[in-house]
């Protein structure tokens, strides 16, 4: 772990991510004021003034509280979506690697099809079926996470299946399922963890996009994406309403991407020779 201080990318990523998680968790027990509490008299007050640390929005709600709860909403939605996507995708990947043959062909073409549809578009279609809301957002993001993990684990698992010790295990009559659990999964878990981190950043961005389009969590739950959407026409009067949630999204995605890159460098046996 001492090596972490020689990896600034990893360090910054870790600090930013932990700070974000801390703020999100903290919002569950305390916020400066109730994020849905409107106070029209105090509307559009700039940051560091009577409206509170980060000012107020067009309904006089406290922006700092909204951003904090927004962090929780954004992170929890994204995390659930990536968790579902990673589990389903990895399961598909290792099973396909186990069976190969025509199954591999079908699943890989299926992944191609899902890849071809932009996630926002598929979320809008899902929204028409399920109605917009958090559940739709989670499913929509998870659906497009599945092929990412399926491809990753398939490629990784195929390499492991070709190793001598796996061939030996097959030779002594171990079942395919047992080999997958004992040899394959542990050897590709690092890759999955790195990918989860990177996909989390992408999920946050997608969740913000869906909320921006009104397909995320419904009001009064604050989300960064909707804060951004609502602030558009107020940009001239109240630029902080756009800048703050925009910065929150940018910092969150940047932090998770740096963490992912740092983890990859650290866990990759090739670059981790030292």
């Amino acid at each position: 772990m001492a090596g972490i201080f020689r990896r600034p990318v990893l360090l910054i990523g870790l600090v930013v991510t932990l700070a974000l998680v801390a703020v999100a968790l903290f919002s569950l027990v305390w916020t400066p004021s109730l994020p849905s509490k409107m106070n029209i008299v105090q509307r559009l007050k700039p940051p560091l003034g009577p409206g509170g640390l980060l000012g107020t929005d067009q309904f006089g709600r406290d922006v700092a509280s909204m951003l904090m709860v927004g962090a929780w909403n954004s992170l929890s939605t994204s995390f659930l979506a990536v968790a579902i996507g990673a589990m389903v995708g990895s399961a598909v990947g290792v099973i396909v690697a186990m069976q190969r043959g025509w199954l591999e062909l079908i699943v890989m073409r299926g992944c191609d099809i899902i890849f071809a549809v932009p996630p926002i578009l598929s979320a809008m279609m899902l929204g028409a079926f399920l109605g917009s809301g958090r559940f739709t957002a989670i499913i929509a993001i998870a659906v497009f996470m599945v092929p990412v993990f399926a491809r990753l684990t398939l490629a990784g698992a195929k390499q492991i299946w070709a190793r001598d010790y796996v061939t030996a295990a097959v030779g002594i009559g171990r079942s395919k399922a047992k080999i997958t659990l004992v040899h394959i999964l542990p050897n590709i878990s690092n890759q999955i963890i790195v990918q989860v981190t990177i996909q989390l950043g992408l999920a946050i961005l997608t969740e913000a996009g869906l909320s921006f389009l009104g397909l995320g969590m419904p009001p009064p739950a604050p989300t960064w994406g909707r804060m951004l959407a609502d602030s558009q026409t107020f940009f001239g009067q109240a630029p902080w309403l756009a800048i703050l949630p925009g910065m929150a999204i940018a910092v969150a995605v940047l932090g998770l991407n740096m963490l992912g890159d740092g983890l990859r460098d650290m866990l990759d046996p090739k670059t981790n020779a030292g």
Binding site: M38, Q58, T233
Partner: protein, 507 residues
């Protein structure tokens, strides 16, 4: 992401505007500018067709009414009925026979003359069994139509209809030429001062001056006019600043209006409209079937807060389905004023001491979304939970709410003037049934005395204010932003319209 996109567009247009501006400044000393004869009018939503006699969208009338199409009567900028294709009329003492003297020498844009047979055709088409006229009920009192000669039209009514002449001025009652009536949706042919020239779907409708316009009393100054459709308020603002659009008579975002203050080029003209923002409730569904619940919800609403939060304070609170510029208006905002404690008590009395929860089907328009969020916060104060479900307008909203009445509460701006009678319609999405109210509206039509009619309208307003079939919120103002040199646009909007007859460029 879209924010960034539209901002780059703004700056691009800004740069274009600067470049154009510089060009004009440089060119000015050399060019003796001829008076401008073209105007581009911006609108937020594009109409689905161009025939106001078959479609209910107010945008159809906003493009075509008084520009392409004209009626027997018309409504002037003060909201008064004026003669148009009917020069004059006589009403029999019992109010059941109307004799119109039609104007001679009026020709449609395709050369066909307007006469009593055309008027009869139009009215028969509007009231016929297979009529799809959006205001069909306005023609139901007509019993027979006679045409003794080419310039006389006699209507025999089943019962006196005091508002008939007013209704004849509406976009839905404009005169159409029999041979072109079927194609008016895409190629409108009327008698007005402008001829339809083209429609680039999704972008604009172009009109040109009608050289043979019958009314020689007005001199139409514009040679050409276009209606441009721009949905996004940011883009509307950019188009105005850059001069791509000369006027937005109904600018989309009140919060951007202050950015035009102090502009040398653009004038901000805030006028009246008939746009009543009301949160309709399904009066046949529990718990809204209980009058006390509706009254409690009304008392939970701070109208001033709604106006401030949803429309930047630019709007007038209302207490009934009526605007201050309508005849016989009564200020009824005090009947159920904002009072959280009384609202809670009334709700408990109705059997909901712990409140209840329901779903608001709110269209995507900014005013509806913002008003809903404020209502959500206000209802939370009395323990009522409101979930907001965004319902796409017009298609899904019309299907789910207006047609199927499958909703708890909704919110929409009613654009038609003097449409208090919608609460007497059956079926209509409020599912409000009150014979007493219907009887008063029948009295309005049976009366020919204006003062008496105003009194009945006052009674009708009072019933609605007490019964609260919908939460009456506020009237939107008309946020007109246009070039200071462009003159003749209507400041107020007694009926949704963009009348270009008297529009001209000041030199």
């Amino acid at each position: 992401m879209q924010t960034i996109f539209s901002w780059s567009q703004v700056s691009r247009r800004g740069v274009m505007g600067l470049a154009l501006g510089a060009g004009i400044v440089l060119a000015a000393p050399y060019a003796q500018a001829a008076p401008k004869t073209a105007a581009t009018i911006g609108m937020t939503v594009e109409p689905g067709g161009l025939d106001p006699t078959i479609g209910a969208q107010v945008m159809i009338g906003q493009v075509t009414w008084q520009n392409i199409f004209e009626g027997l009567t018309t409504i002037d900028k003060a909201g008064k009925v004026q003669p148009q294709l009917a020069e004059s009329w006589d009403v029999s003492p019992d109010g059941k026979t109307y004799t119109f003297k039609l104007r001679q020498g009026v020709k449609f844009h395709n050369g066909v003359a307007f006469d009593s047979s055309v008027a009869k055709f139009t009215l028969d088409r509007a009231r016929g069994a297979d009529s799809v006229n959006p205001q069909k009920r306005y023609f139901t009192s007509i019993d027979t139509i006679e045409t003794p000669d080419a310039s006389t039209l006699v209507l025999k009514l089943k019962q006196p209809t005091g508002s008939l002449l007013y209704w004849f001025g509406w976009p839905a009652a404009v005169m159409v030429e029999p041979s072109t009536a079927a194609d008016n949706k895409t190629n409108p042919v009327g008698t007005g001062p402008f001829v339809f020239s083209s429609w680039a779907k999704g972008t604009k409708v172009d009109l040109k001056k009608n050289a043979g316009y019958w009314n020689k009393d007005v001199s139409v100054k514009l040679e050409t006019a276009s209606f441009r459709f721009i949905n996004d308020p940011q883009a509307q603002s950019a188009a105005l600043t850059a001069g791509d659009v000369d006027a937005f008579p109904e600018f989309g975002a009140p919060e951007l209006v202050s950015s035009f203050e102090g502009s040398d080029k653009l004038a901000t003209v805030i006028g009246n409209t008939e746009l009543k923002v009301v949160a309709g409730m399904n009066n046949s569904r529990k718990p809204f079937s209980d009058k006390k619940v509706r009254q409690a919800l009304m008392m939970a609403v701070d109208r001033a807060m709604v106006v401030e939060g949803a429309w930047s304070g630019l709007g007038t609170p209302i207490g009934s389905h009526y605007t201050p510029n309508d005849r016989g208006y009564k200020d009824l905002t005090g009947v159920y004023p904002y009072d959280v404690e009384k609202a809670k008590a009334l709700l408990a009395e109705a059997g909901y001491p712990n409140g209840f929860s329901f779903t608001m089907k709110a269209p995507q328009m900014a005013y509806a979304q913002r008003s809903s969020q404020i209502l959500q916060a206000l209802f939370a104060e009395i323990g009522v939970t409101m979930n907001i479900e965004t319902t796409e307008f017009p298609a899904k909203w019309v299907a789910d709410v207006l047609k199927a009445a499958d909703y708890d509460m909704t919110i929409v701006a009613h654009a038609e003037p003097m449409d208090i009678d919608i609460y007497a319609r059956d079926p209509y999405y409020f599912n409000y049934k009150n014979p007493e109210f219907n009887a008063i509206l029948a009295k309005v039509e049976a009366s020919t005395d204006a003062a008496e009619q105003d009194k009945f309208y006052g009674e009708a307003q009072t019933i609605l204010a007490n019964d609260v079939p919908a939460l009456f919120l506020f009237v939107m103002p008309k946020l007109g932003i246009w070039d200071k040199k462009l003159k003749g646009l209507w400041e107020n909007e007694p009926i949704p319209s963009n009348v270009l007859t008297e529009v001209f460029w000041e030199e």
